[in-house]
Symmetry: C2
Subunit: 263 residues, 2 copies
DNA sequence: CCATCTTTGTGCACGCGTTCACAAAGACAT
DNA sequence: ATGTCTTTGTGAACGCGTGCACAAAGATGG
C-alpha cells in the first residue's frame, strides 16, 4: 500500500473511508489519555480496548493514514496523537459560532472540550434582543443582525445551530451565505444546503427512540432464542393496540419544539 | 421472507435492520409534521424528500414493517404514524432518569421533545449535595444516594448520563445494577456494560472533529496544503503535549459544573 | 549474526446496506 | 369491465465496512 517505506506524512486524505474518519476522534481521545499518563507506546490491542473497537479494525484504520507503527512494539503515543490531530485538522485553530443561546446553546458554550481540541468559540448569537450583551461562558451574546459581520470578520467556517426547529433553515441559509461551509445542527430539521457544505446532525430524540425500540424488544422477548418469528411480538402488538387512542392524540403539545433542544 | 407471499402485516421485529431502525424516528418526525397539516396521504417520494433520504430506501425500510402502503396512492399518514410509533415502542410510557445536572443535564431536562414522544423524566439526579432540592425544569433534583431507590420504585429502564467523564462508568454501573438496561451516554468515555444492556453515545466533540476533517480537506484542495512542515514530528509532539496539558485543565471558570462534557 | 518472538499491515472473504429497475397492485376514468 | 396510470414492494447487483488470518517487519536475546 504505502509507496515505499517513507514515513512521510503525506496527506492522502482522498482515500480515508468515512467510517474511519468517524473513529479517529475516538482513538485520539484514548491516545490523549495515555499521553497524560506518560505511556510511551501502545499496541493495537491495548489501544483498541481503550477505544472500544476491534484491534484489526484499528490497524486497518491507521493503515489509511500511513505506516506509523513499529512491528513488534506498537505505536508511539505522542507521534500518533500528532498524526491523527493533523489528519483531523486539529492542529489549526477553528473559530466557531454558536447560534441560538438557549439551554443547549449555553451548555455548548460552556463546554470545555472545544478549546482543547482546536475549536474556539468566536461568538454566541441569539435572535432575542434581551440576550444581547449578556455574558454566557464569559462571552457576550450578540444579536442575529451581527451574524454576517461576525462570520466574515472572524473567518468562521464552522457554525453550530442550536435554535428551535422553525428558525434553523433560515439561520443555516444566512450562515452559508456568509461563508460557513460546515454546520453542526442540533435542531430537529432536515437542512437544505448547497453542494460543498457539510452538515452533521445531532438528535437526542432519535437516540432515545432507538433505545426505546431495543428496550421494547427486550421486554417482549423473554425467550433467548429467535425462534417462532410468526408468533413473537404478537403479545406486544395486542398490548400496543390498546394504546392506539393514546397515539392518536399526538397533536397537542408537540406542535412546535418549545425548547431549544432537538426533538 | 421471499418464501411465500403472505400479506400479513405481522410484526417481523426480528428482521428489522439496525440502519432502518435508526431512520424510523426520522420518518416519524416528517409524518407527524404532515399529520399536523392534516395531510391524509403521502407518496414515498414526498415523504423521502421531507425526511432527507432516498425514496427507494424509504420504501424498503417500510417493507420491513409490513405492507402499509396503497399502490397508486401512497401511505396513509395517520396509520403510518401509529405503526412506526408502535414499532419504536413509543405508544407506551418510558420513565427516564437524567444523571448529572450540569449545563447539559439541565438542557436535557428542559427539552420538551421528550414528553411528546413517550418519554417522561422521572427524576433528575446529581452528586452535588448543593443541587439537591433545587428545581430544574420544574423537577426537584435528587441526590445520587437516591439513585437505586428512584430506579426501582419508578421502574426506570432508560438512563441518561450527563456527568463528567470520570463519574460516568461508576454511575453506569449503579444504573445497571439497579435495573436500567438502556443508557444514553453523553460523557466522553467508553462505557463497559454487561450483555443485554444497550448503550448509545452522543459526542459533540467527535462531530465537530469530523466536520473539521472535511473542512480541512476542502481548504487544502486547491492550495498545496497549508503549513505542516513535514518531518517535524518532534516539534509536533511538544504541541501534542501542550494539548494534553490543556485537556488536563478541565476546570472551567464556572465552579458549579465546569466539565459536564469534557472531551 | 542468527534464531525467535512480538506485533504490524493487509489480502481476502463475508455480510450488511444501498440503489436500481421493474413487475405487480390498486385507483380511477371511461 | 376494461384499460390506463400511478406508486408500491422487492429481486438483484453493487459497494462499503468488518473481521479473519497470516506473512512481513522489526525488536530482542543468545
Amino acid at each position: 500500500m504505502a509507496t515505499g517505506r517513507t514515513h512521510r506524512p503525506a496527506t492522502r486524505s482522498r482515500g480515508i473511508p468515512e467510517a474511519t474518519v468517524a473513529r479517529l476522534p475516538l482513538y485520539l481521545r484514548a491516545l490523549t489519555a495515555l499521553s497524560e499518563r506518560s505511556v510511551p507506546t501502545v499496541s493495537s490491542e491495548e489501544l483498541a480496548a481503550a477505544a472500544g473497537v476491534n484491534s484489526a479494525k484499528l490497524r486497518k484504520d491507521f493503515s489509511y493514514l500511513g505506516s506509523y507503527g513499529t512491528r513488534g512494539v506498537g505505536y508511539d503515543v505522542e507521534y500518533l496523537v500528532y498524526q491523527i490531530s493533523r489528519e483531523l485538522g486539529l492542529t489549526q485553530d477553528w473559530p466557531v459560532v454558536i447560534v441560538g443561546i438557549g439551554n443547549l446553546g449555553a451548555a455548548l458554550a460552556n463546554y470545555g472540550g472545544f478549546a482543547s481540541r482546536g475549536f474556539r468559540v468566536a461568538a454566541l448569537i441569539d435572535a432575542d434582543p434581551a440576550m444581547a450583551g449578556k455574558p454566557v461562558a464569559g462571552i457576550a451574546v450578540q444579536h442575529t443582525d451581527e451574524l454576517e459581520h461576525i462570520i466574515e470578520s472572524n473567518g468562521v467556517s464552522i457554525g453550530v445551530i442550536a435554535t428551535p426547529a422553525g428558525a434553523a433553515q433560515q439561520v443555516c441559509d444566512r450562515l452559508v451565505a456568509a461563508g460557513v461551509t460546515s454546520i453542526l445542527n442540533f435542531a430537529p430539521t432536515v437542512l437544505t444546503v448547497p453542494d460543498g457544505v457539510d452538515v452533521r446532525k445531532v438528535d437526542l430524540s432519535i437516540e432515545l427512540q432507538i433505545l426505546a425500540f431495543h428496550e421494547q424488544r427486550k421486554a417482549g422477548e423473554e425467550t433467548p432464542e429467535a425462534g417462532a418469528p410468526a408468533t413473537s411480538g404478537r403479545a406486544a402488538a395486542v398490548a400496543a393496540a390498546a394504546e392506539a387512542a393514546a397515539a392518536a392524540d399526538r397533536k397537542g403539545p408537540d406542535g412546535d419544539v418549545p425548547a431549544v433542544m432537538p426533538a
